[in-house]
């Protein structure tokens, strides 16, 4: 079997208490990740570059390419009149534009590819959700992105560990709405309530929640199973070596496949 194919059943309906199916589904998500890596299908994760800098950097780098061409053209015309310092200044500016283009792109591209190269797929449970600022972007239906607080665990590999993650998410949701046990969760609750930037950052959720991680991300409705927040279960792409901004992504339900969507349907979202 080559490294992009994976021997396994053609999963259809996966129930959270079906240990064999859950294990197969989790292995399938890892195999899907390898398909993307093998053929460099980075558009499934947001393209290259994605994050790791001002969002307009890629556009500025394109403008630098246009400016380089325009300045070289101008130099060609000016050389008909003079070969003095003016021509050399224009050519120097053109070279600067080219250098600026490389510098603007190189960092975000390298960091994005580094993230995609070492990231892993992990299940996540939605703890809290609210609509974000419409000025930050809306989908085709005019809906702003959802700001999601997710409980992520990279140690889920069977039905039992998935059930523990779901239970931890339920406990945290209840504590957040002050009708559950809040012991040992004070710092986490404060971090959630005080959160301002949903930039895919993660923090350690501590021993109280089985050393899972809290992730703060945004996602459009179309990325979610059923095209809206109907399930508490998502899959995310996380960098195991960096919890900083842009080192995680919410994966679209299309990437995860129909079997993942069937499991998500078994774990409905419980809004307060």
């Amino acid at each position: 079997m080559n490294d992009a194919a994976w021997t396994g059943p053609a999963l259809r309906d996966v129930r959270p208490d079906d240990d064999g199916a859950v294990r197969a589904l989790l292995r399938e998500q890892a195999a899907r990740l390898e398909v993307v890596r093998k053929d460099r299908l980075w558009q499934w994760f947001g393209g290259v570059p994605s994050g790791f800098g001002h969002p307009a950097r890629d556009l500025w780098s394109l403008y630098c390419a246009f400016a380089f061409v325009a300045l070289v053209g101008l130099a060609f015309v000016v050389v008909g009149f003079t070969r003095g310092p003016v021509v050399w200044v224009i050519l120097a500016l053109a070279v600067l534009c080219l250098v600026a283009r490389v510098l603007l792109r190189r960092g975000p591209v390298q960091r994005t590819l580094q993230f995609y190269g070492r990231a892993v797929v992990a299940p996540a449970v939605v703890v809290a959700a609210e609509r974000g600022d419409p000025e930050q972007g809306v989908d085709a239906n005019g809906q702003p992105r959802l700001r999601l607080v997710l409980l992520v665990s990279r140690d889920v590999d069977d039905a039992a560990s998935l059930a523990r993650l779901v239970e931890s998410g339920r406990r945290l949701r209840a504590a957040l709405h002050e009708d559950g046990d809040t012991e040992g969760l004070g710092e986490l609750l404060a971090a959630i309530r005080d959160r301002e930037h949903y930039d895919d950052t993660r923090i350690d959720a501590g021993a109280a929640l089985d050393r899972a991680e809290l992730q703060f991300s945004e996602a459009y409705d179309w990325m979610l199973p059923g095209d809206s927040l109907r399930s508490q279960l998502l899959f995310v792409l996380v960098d195991p070596e960096d919890r900083g901004p842009d080192c995680a992504r919410v994966l679209s339900s299309t990437f995860c496949g129909d079997a993942a969507e069937s499991l998500a349907a078994e774990l409905p979202w419980e809004a307060a």
């Binding site: 080559n2 994976w6 053209g73 008909g80």
Partner: protein, 239 residues
Amino acid sequence: MNLSELRQRLTRLDRRDKLDSMLASVDEGVPWNDFVWMLQFPAYLGTAILIAMMVKDYADTRQDPADVDVLVALGMAVLCVLLRFLHPLLRNRMQRLRRRLRRRAPVLPSAVVQAHSSWGEDDRWYWGTVVLSFDPVIYDEPQRLREIARRLWELKQTDRGTLPRAHADLAWMLYHELGPCSSLPVPEDLADGLEDCRMVAVRLPPDTLMWDGMPMVLALRDSNDPAACAVLPQAVLEG
């Protein structure tokens, strides 16, 4: 349908720069070769201005132009020629692949293995998977591809652990639906004796050009890149 005439028509469309916009778009990166092509025009202008200035100076002073001025003028003229004729050398890999596809790839019938359920119901392009073959017999017996497509479709819901490696690869590609991944060869036992049979991820146009119900495609034999195959829309007959 006369496929030879269709191939000639496609070449004519490409020479008029119309074919590329009819096919599914592909990210070809920054078109540096096009930028270099555009730079020839300011180079012509600069050269013309330089020569005009030299002529004016001679008319005013009756002195031969300085050697350095002549050298610069010659250099600009050479630059104009280089920009005009050498810009194709700056085409990147994807641009070269797509150009070969448009100009030289044979027109082939194909059979749909799987496609989005909404394909053909609106004006959107949808990802799908087709099977095709470079065996010349396919022009006389294109319907054989339909049977191969049916066998491939049946693999999708099969436990891949029970399949031979080549079959499991095909089943996995159909199951994960993550396009556009590289095309895969169809093994002999599934290919009904056809040579060089492949399963390819493609984008299906809303108005696909059909031959007896089978999508017509351009495909390059020497590449398994997904961009080395393009499904033809009806518009190629109307353009």
